[in-house]
Structures are given as C-alpha cells and as structure tokens.
C-alpha cells in the first residue's frame, strides 16, 4: 500500500488502447485519497485474459469540481472514483 487517506495524488494521463478504468474526465487530475480498500486483481489485465493478473490496492480518490472542470465547474461539487494503485502517482511527482 503506497498511499494513505489524505495523500495528494495525481492520476496518470495515459490513454492506452486497452481496457483501462480511469475515466477520461479524471485523467491527469489531482485528488486526495478518500479511502483505502482491499487489493483486487487489476481490471486491465483481467480484461486482457491474463490468468494471473497483478493484484493491487484499490483507492477511492476524491477530486474537487474545479480540478476536473476548471472554471466551468458547478459550485461545491466533489467527484469520487475507485482507482488501482498503478493509476496513481504522488501529486508532486514529475509528469
């Protein structure tokens, strides 16, 4: 487990051509770890038919509306998604 509740993280901005569970509206966005869940097999590898997919910690990450939609955001909105560890880097990591 790499992250703890409250940690500032950023989602990968990757746009792979395979199954991938970071919704486009949350790619390359900064958020905070809101909850740490159990480890689950990575959906990308499962979808590719990998018989022994990597098992990674799953996190709920909270994103402020303004981070997601900039000045077009509605007031006082927060978005949450469940994201596997390899989708995330520390918020201050180099791009």
């Amino acid at each position: 487990m790499r992250f703890a509740v409250g940690d500032a993280v950023r989602t990968s901005g990757r746009d792979p051509d395979h199954h991938y569970r970071v919704p486009r509206y949350l790619r390359g966005k900064r958020g905070r770890i809101e909850a740490v869940h159990a480890a689950f097999p990575l959906a990308d590898a499962r979808a590719a038919g990998d018989p022994s997919p990597p098992v990674e910690t799953l996190y709920t990450v909270a994103f402020a509306g303004g981070e997601v939609w900039a000045e077009g955001a509605e007031p006082n909105t927060v978005y949450h998604a469940e994201l596997w560890e390899s989708y995330l880097v520390p918020a201050d990591a180099a791009s």
Partner: protein
C-alpha cells in the same frame, strides 16, 4: 434468457446498434449456445439462476436497509462503516457470481450524494433490482459528472450551493447506496412506515 436479452437490446436501445453492449450480447448468446449444444448447460438452468437472483433483488431490500438505519443509530453506524456486514444482519447479500463490496453514503444538511457508473452501468442490483434505463443512458452517465446540480434539478431536486454534491463513479469493485435523510416529523413512525417513505430513486441519489 438469451432471447429475452436479445429482445431487450433490440427494442430498448435502438440507438445502441453496434455499441459494445450489443456486441457483448451477441457474444454472450453465442457462448450460451455453444454451452447448450455441448450439453454443458440447459437454457432452463440459466433462466432459473437468473430468476432466482432477480426474484430476491428489488428496491424493497434497499428500503429495509434504510428504514433500519433511520430507526437504529447503532445500525446506521455499522452500515456506514461496514455495509456488507450491516446488510448481512438483515439476511441480504450483494454477491451473485462474485463477492461485491457495498459502500453506503449518507445525505446530510451538508452533503448530497449521487451515484453513477460512467464506464458502463454498475449498480447494486441485489438491493435495487435491475437498473432503470436512464441510469444506463449515455446522457445520464456523461452529464451527471459534468453538471450534477443541473441533472438533479431536472429530477426535481435543487441542492443549495452551500450543500456539497458528492458524485460517486462506480469505476471498479464497489457498489453504492445512498442513505437519504429521514423524513421530517417521522419520529413516531415504525420501520414498516419508514420503509414506505424510501424510493428507489432516493437510493441512487436522484430523489430525496
């Protein structure tokens, strides 16, 4: 089951021809056909499994959970902390082919919660029954993350700006249920009456 699914896709999603859902339906039908032709399963068995699951799956399950949480503060605490354990106390189980983690999110004077699956149509079927068509529509799935307050307004709810709107996108292993606020002036209601006050839409977060 296969014929039903086929009809469902053909008639309820006229705009979805060639979409991944239609392709998947065709693949599932082909798989079931192959299993049947080899004598591995019978169509009746598949139908029976689905019917057993769906007969036990409906919004009255969600309403029971909410009514208990309104009536019993200790149960409410457990529900918010470990929803799977809490619903097990009522004899309910999220699982069908694999274990499913449930998370219950609570509406308060400070926050309103709303659930979506932007990537497909993940939904707590065991607790609410099959998802309504609008929940699976591209319009709901795309707009509720772009302008949740506007979408809520169209459902008849105006959330004050000082009340946070929390959108829960079911992108992976969790399913969500909204715990609505208890109706006003309901202090002397028993659980049966409280249950009557719970709607499916409130458990998704598009009604109060």
């Amino acid at each position: 089951m296969s014929d039903h699914e086929h009809d469902h896709m053909e008639h309820d999603h006229p705009h979805d021809h060639g979409s991944p859902a239609v392709v998947m339906t065709a693949r599932v039908n082909a798989l079931i056909g192959a299993l049947e032709s080899r004598g591995i399963v019978q169509d009746a068995e598949v139908t029976a499994v689905l019917e057993r699951f769906l007969a036990a799956a409906g919004p009255s399950n969600g309403a029971r959970i909410v009514a208990r949480a309104w009536a019993d503060p200790a149960y409410r605490g457990l529900l918010l902390d470990d929803a799977n354990a809490a619903i097990a106390q009522l004899g309910l189980d999220m699982s069908h082919w694999a274990p499913v983690s449930l998370r219950v999110v609570e509406n308060t004077q400070r926050a309103h919660n709303i659930v979506v699956c932007t990537l497909c149509s993940c939904y707590p079927i065991a607790l609410l029954g099959p998802a309504p068509q609008w929940y699976k529509s591209e319009a709901y799935r795309s707009r509720v993350v772009r302008e949740p307050r506007a979408v809520l307004h169209e459902f008849g709810i105006t959330v004050p700006d000082d009340r946070e709107v929390r959108v829960w996108d079911s992108t992976a292993e969790l399913r969500y249920l909204v715990l609505p606020q208890r109706p006003p002036h309901s202090d002397d209601w028993d659980e049966a009456r409280l249950m009557q006050a719970v709607t499916r839409d409130a458990l998704i977060g598009v009604a109060l």
